[in-house]
Amino acid sequence: MNAVKISNLTKTYADGTEALKGIDLDIAQGDFFALLGANGAGKTTLISILTSLCRKTAGDVSIFGNNIDTHHPQAKKIMGVVPQEINFNFFEKSEDIVLTQAGYFGIQRKVALKDCEWLLKKLELWNKRHTTAKSLSGGMKRRLMIARALITRPKLLILDEPTAGVDVELRHSMWEFIQELNANGTTILLTTHYLEEVEQLCKNAAMINHGQIVANDSVRNLIKQIEVETYVISVDQIKSEKELAKFQFKKRDDHTFEIDIKTNERVTKILSYIASLGMDICDFRPLGNRMEKLFLKLLKD
């Protein structure tokens, strides 16, 4: 059974904007799935339909076999959502925010207390449990939203850009935790603008553009579509710039330059060629992340 099954999903807003134009998408149980797209592509609309904050115009959506039209309480009960924008009451205490969410899902307070303690400790918020949400830092607020989503022990966790504005160290610890959840069987649906996260974390990904799915494959297969990769090379002294020009050579300074290498070419061959031009290679690394390149390529296509 698929965790998410979407067939011919459309959404047209009251002002006539067609946000989704017939989306078909399956997410397997246990998957760590990325949904990518530019701002306004339709990602948040899609997620809002899954979580019932937005009403679809047409199509079918099932969550673990529960159709959101006919079995919406069952579908909602197994979903947890971490939205893009902070959406809790700023005047409530952290612990109350988490416990109240459990209550809305039919979990008794005394039962939820144990899970709440575990989650707040795991997300390093235990010391802040009696602090009102408005006094928390940006990163803490993000973690609190994760704790709130997880208190109901969802089978499907939807993360809508959960690390936006979160510092690097915290982002990594958050991802470790999310990966742990995924390893324990929770299906994850993620939207993010940090595409290197997709490459590192996700098994499968779909790209949405102007309300349509333009790519849907494993992350590995998607990356294979990249035809050219840019590398940054540091040498003792740049020589023979004319020879390097055929690689889309871009000079950064006297010792560092960027070149494009086709993915079907052997990198070692190119490096040997550069060495043969009399340059001593000191460092060599790919520029940026490949998903970003793919993203831009698919959008362009």
């Binding site: 807003y13 809002s48 979580t51 019932s52 904050l53 937005c54 009403r55 919406h72 309480p73 069952q74 909602k76 009960k77 979903m79 959502v81 939205p83 924008e85 902070i86 959406n87 809790f88 009451n89 700023f90 005047f91 109350d96 925010i97 109240t100 969410q101 459990a102 209550g103 809305y104 899902f105 039919g106 979990i107 008794q108 307070r109 709130r148």
Partner: protein
Amino acid sequence: MSAQDNYIAYSTLVRKETVRFFRIWSQTLVPPMITQTLYFLIFGKFIGSQIGDINGISYMAFIVPGLVMMSVINNSYMNVSGSFFSSKFQHSIEELLVSPASNWAIIAGYATGGALRGVVCGFLVFCVSIFFTKPAIHNIFIVFLFIVLTAIVFSLGGLLNGILAKKFDDVSIVPTFILVPLTYLGGVFYSVKLLPPFWQNLSQLNPILYMVNGFRYGFYGFSDVPVTTSLAILVVFTITLTAINLWILNKGTGLRT
């Protein structure tokens, strides 16, 4: 969601709403006591002493049920409209909307939370009145029935307002332009029998008149309108407002795009 799950969701919402209005007690519980104390002082003590008895009781005692009811109406209404709209404004209402809690549980939770604040405020105003007069209780059951039903009706009205409101102004329009005039003209400070026939007849269209008088009957055993009519109106309002709220929540108007 089983019935038990929905009951837990309902009680969670009631708890949240109750904690909220007790947490901000200086904004929710104290102002009605101060306002009504002024009414007791100015209308009851200073002006009332010039008016004399109505139906055999002092003017001060006469206005007690009306002032308690005024407090119940305003506070139950504003509790729900304010709380619901600020949840919408902060988007924290999404916590509830993404949950499997039924719309019945949501309506009942907000109605109970608002009614509790209304009843607590009403009780506090009644306590204040004891410093000025000794109100009698003719029928405690009627008193209880009317205060609870009125609080529920106005909580449901506040919920409807909160769901449909798009800006903060929309939340204050109904209390300012509808509730306050209807309450003042609903026999809080006078018996409608003292009015000329035209105004007496016009007052019969004011639902708050029935609530105030039904409640007053519970205190003193007399009313300007039949108590059964008052009760029937409260029941009709409760059912109608519940149905409208349910219909709107099912449609998702003002909440789901």
